[in-house]
């Protein structure tokens, strides 16, 4: 049986990820009836995105420390249609692996020139581009000597509820993948690989910065009718 398109998503019941134990619902998910109408919301009426909001290296007087990078790609739905005008929001740790967040107690230095947040709207082809620095790996207390691989959090907010996605982008070749219960919660290796950006010579700017390519695919605009293996 072909897997449901939904099965690429990690089950919330993933006990290796300690925080899930008291938060993952215990009852099976219910199936919503298929919808005839598109379930859409007007997007960001009156919102403005600053012209430099996509550049996390230019939000302060000085430049942040770390490896300068560009992350760029397209946002598509599963039918291959580009999502134009989707809001992409990103947040990340600094080059030392520390978030500019009061609750982050990792004893690594904060960077006065790095807040670690950016946003943009996708263009007519679904394209997006962020300029930032490569985030550092950092320890957490999920299991003894646990470390999160370097990652950038991505939020995709488009006009359709069914397309809403929050995820994380990883960097190729990271040795920390196999011990990370967040990435490993994704059931199959092929799907996990879709969370890993590709280093791109094309996006790499000579004498300036490394480039990474990463496309994002969200559900189609229509709610999916009952899948074969949808939970009852």
């Amino acid at each position: 049986m072909a897997p449901s398109s939904r099965s690429v998503h990690p089950p919330n019941d993933s006990p290796a990820y300690g925080s899930s134990l008291l938060r993952a619902p215990k009852q099976p998910l219910r199936v919503q009836p298929g919808r005839l109408g598109e379930l859409t919301a007007p997007l960001l009426a009156g919102e403005t995105i600053g012209t430099l909001d996509h550049d996390l290296t230019r939000q302060h007087d000085g430049e942040p420390l770390g490896e300068r990078i560009t992350i760029s790609g397209r946002v598509l739905d599963e039918d291959g249609n580009p999502l134009a005008g989707a809001l992409i929001e990103v947040w990340q740790a600094n080059a030392s692996g520390r978030y500019a967040h009061l609750s982050d107690q990792h004893p690594a230095p904060l960077d006065p020139n790095f807040s670690g947040a950016g946003r943009c709207l996708t263009d007519a082809e679904g394209g997006y581009r962020f300029i930032t620095i490569k985030p550092g790996a950092y320890p957490w207390r999920n299991h003894p000597n646990a470390w999160r691989p370097a990652h950038v959090h991505f939020s995709v907010f488009s006009a359709a509820f069914t397309q809403r996605l929050i995820t994380q982008m990883y960097f190729p070749g990271d040795p920390l993948f196999a011990q990370d219960p967040v990435l490993m919660s994704v059931p199959d290796e092929e799907s996990r690989q879709r969370l890993v950006a590709r280093w791109s010579l094309e996006l790499t700017e000579p004498e300036w910065s490394l480039g990474y390519a990463w496309d994002i695919v969200v559900a189609g605009r229509q709610a999916t009718p009952l899948d074969d293996d949808a939970p009852e």
Partner: protein, 165 residues
């Protein structure tokens, strides 16, 4: 053509850095005719408030977003949507689609908030009709101090009904 989806990952504990400002908790201004304040608390399986969750509401009129505070509280001001979601199984009662994100949730949770002053529409709603009384009660807000209260229980005896998107 069907492209494979990008998998979901948890929003993590530090999302306020990136998700705090762009979309707000006011879908409708306070003074808008019909504006209603929907507040609630998010609880985990131990009955403890979830202080690092993110609630989003979705309806044709717009989307609202509110992080939970130290006591798990959120509040969103919006209007009641029209009874416009029609499908093959009947006319759905007015409701908000709700997403719940939090550290510990690898994939967003999807639920619905129905309105307590819509007895007739709620009784005819095909989704509510497929649930037990106790399950249905988790999806219908209660009147509270001039607004509506909609608590979300991630686990436990009063676990909220969640949907497969």
């Amino acid at each position: 053509m069907t492209l494979p989806l990008t998998p979901s990952q948890t929003v993590g504990p530090f999302f306020r850095i990136g998700l705090a400002t762009t979309i707000g908790a006011h879908v409708a201004g306070e003074g808008t005719p019909g504006a209603v304040r929907i507040s609630g608390q998010v609880f985990d399986g131990a009955g403890e408030p979830v202080p690092d969750g993110l609630i989003e509401t979705w309806q044709a009129e717009g989307a609202g977003r509110c992080p939970t505070d130290d006591e798990g509280h959120f509040a969103i001001v919006t209007t009641k949507p029209a009874r416009n979601a029609v499908d093959h199984s009947g006319v759905e009662a007015p409701h908000l689609d709700v997403s719940v994100f939090a550290r510990g949730l690898l994939t967003r949770l999807v639920t619905r908030m129905y309105f307590p002053d819509e007895d007739e529409a709620n009784a005819a709603d095909p989704v509510l009709g497929s649930l037990s009384d106790a399950e249905r009660a988790t999806l219908v807000a209660v009147t509270d101090d001039g607004g509506l209260r909609f608590d979300i229980h991630l686990q436990g005896a009063r676990e909220t009904v969640f949907f497969d998107r």
